[in-house]
């Protein structure tokens, strides 16, 4: 166990980077995903088309490819950003597509009957979205969004491949010195599991609080 004590400092710092990437990219992905869904269900065909293309693009290109493109191709195009922010932006853009799908599945749980009833009562489209559709869609989307957040946290490990010093790359570095892969990566894996568990529990609590009484 001594090997962890000796390098506790860098490991904690790396874990901090992992958590920071997950939190910032997660918040950004939820915000962007909501905007994409709004465009996706809007009555404006151009917005709907753009949102559809956005989701299709990010769902059908591997994250690693996007990360490598962003880290190696963007500087060539004259866009210079430090590594970690670049990875956070790519993660946020990528996971936003999945958040959008999660929210859209929530929207689909709101029956057309309720939307029709709100129209019959004289609600405008915006009122109907704000008071009837969105509140119910978000409630139904809590668990699916939680799952996207877990996937996002796991995906931060891919940033190691483009040189970001987060938990996985720090574990890898430690292993090069200590040569104890099973021990080191088991511990790293347990830390990821703990993060996933925390997110899952958090989503479960939020869901309980906002659940529609049945």
């Amino acid at each position: 166990m001594n090997i962890f004590v000796d390098s506790a400092g860098p490991l904690l710092e790396a874990l901090g980077t992992t958590v920071m990437m997950a939190v910032i990219a997660g918040v950004a992905a939820i915000a962007l995903g909501t905007v994409v869904t709004a465009a996706r269900i809007s009555p404006i065909p151009v917005l709907r088309g753009l949102a559809f293309a956005y989701v299709q693009f990010f769902v059908n290109v591997p994250l690693l490819v996007l990360l490598i493109l962003a880290v190696f191709a963007l500087p060539d195009a004259g866009l210079l950003l430090p590594l970690t922010p670049t990875a956070i932006i790519v993660l946020a853009l990528y996971e936003a597509a999945y958040v959008a799908e999660a929210i859209r599945s929530g929207v689909n749980t709101v029956g057309t009957g309720q939307i029709e009833a709100s129209r019959a009562l004289g609600f405008t489209l915006v009122q109907s979205l704000r008071l009837v559709v969105v509140p119910q869609a978000l409630r139904a989307a809590v668990q699916p969004i939680g799952n996207v957040m877990i996937a996002l946290t796991m995906n931060t490990a891919l940033a190691a491949a483009v040189g970001v010093v987060e938990l996985t790359s720090e574990a890898n570095k430690l292993n090069l010195v200590e040569a104890q892969p099973i021990l080191i990566f088991t511990v790293a894996g347990l830390i990821y599991m703990a993060l996933a568990l925390a997110i899952g529990l958090g989503a479960g609590r939020i869901e309980k609080r906002v659940a529609i009484k049945r």
Partner: protein, 261 residues
């Protein structure tokens, strides 16, 4: 226009036949499918019209066109003398004057029963929360579910949900109430509690269009029965005349299927 919580038109005295709903030469297509054909219909204030007809004859479409949930291909529809515009804010306002009750209740699942009733008056009419709640509670009292005010829709029986839906529509003080098969989704033992509310509403002078195959209700509460077939109004008469001696063969064939022998 001043009106009591029942939506009873205060300017119309019983017996005067002011047109509350007027359809003139209405045509409705879904793509190439001609669903309403040359429909002309005048419904007086305080009149209760029951619409019957075989499945697919256009009864629901007729209701949905009257408050423009569906657009019509041609013709005009006027409510209380005002032509319904095609879309936009003016339409939303006019739509609020026509209450609609659906077969599947369509209550807002995430809101309490009282919130369901007050949401539209607060949002659309700009009523204060306090007034809306007081009126909402009175309406729930009237339909017999005041004790369910703080429950959520899924906690109510079908009959209670449908009565809540009626209260929700009444909260807008509509000039006309449309009912599209309001009891078809209910267990038999809950049908009468909903019909009783509708009968009392009719007795209070509400103008009503009711799609239903509940002949008891039609005989009790309707002034007129309209028989639709294949998108056309084929026959109209008083309930007694229609059920006992319908004149068209199609209406007779229809009645022989739905009436107990």
């Amino acid at each position: 226009m001043a009106s009591s919580p029942t939506g009873t038109s205060s300017s119309t005295s019983a017996g005067t036949a002011t047109a509350m709903v007027q359809l003139t030469d209405v045509q409705k297509h879904f793509g190439s499918h001609h669903v309403l054909k040359d429909v002309s219909l005048t419904i007086a204030a305080r009149e209760v019209v029951v619409v019957v007809g075989p499945s697919g004859s256009g009864k629901s479409t007729l209701c949905r066109c009257i408050n423009r949930l569906e657009t019509i291909t041609s013709g005009t529809i006027a409510v209380d003398g005002v032509d319904l515009p095609a879309e936009g804010r003016a339409l939303a306002k006019l739509r609020a004057e026509v209450g609609m009750v659906f077969q599947s209740f369509n209550l807002f699942a995430h809101r309490t029963i009282l919130d369901n009733v007050t949401l539209a008056p607060i949002t659309v009419l700009g009523r204060s929360r306090k007034d809306a709640r007081a009126e909402g509670l009175a309406l729930l009292e009237r339909v017999g579910i005041a004790d369910k005010a703080d429950h959520f829709p899924a906690q109510l029986s079908g009959g209670q949900q449908q009565r809540a839906a009626i209260a929700r529509a009444l909260a807008m003080k509509p000039k006309v109430m449309l009912f599209d098969e309001p009891t078809s989704a209910l267990d038999p033992e809950m049908v009468s509690e909903v019909l009783d509310v509708m009968t009392s509403l009719a007795g209070d002078g509400m103008t009503m269009v009711v799609v239903t195959h509940e002949m008891g209700f039609a005989r009790r509460a309707a002034d007129r029965v309209i028989f639709m077939d294949d998108g056309r109004i084929v026959e109209e008469d008083t309930p007694a005349n229609f059920f006992d001696h319908a004149s068209s063969p199609r209406a007779q064939a229809f009645l022989s299927k739905i009436l107990p022998h």
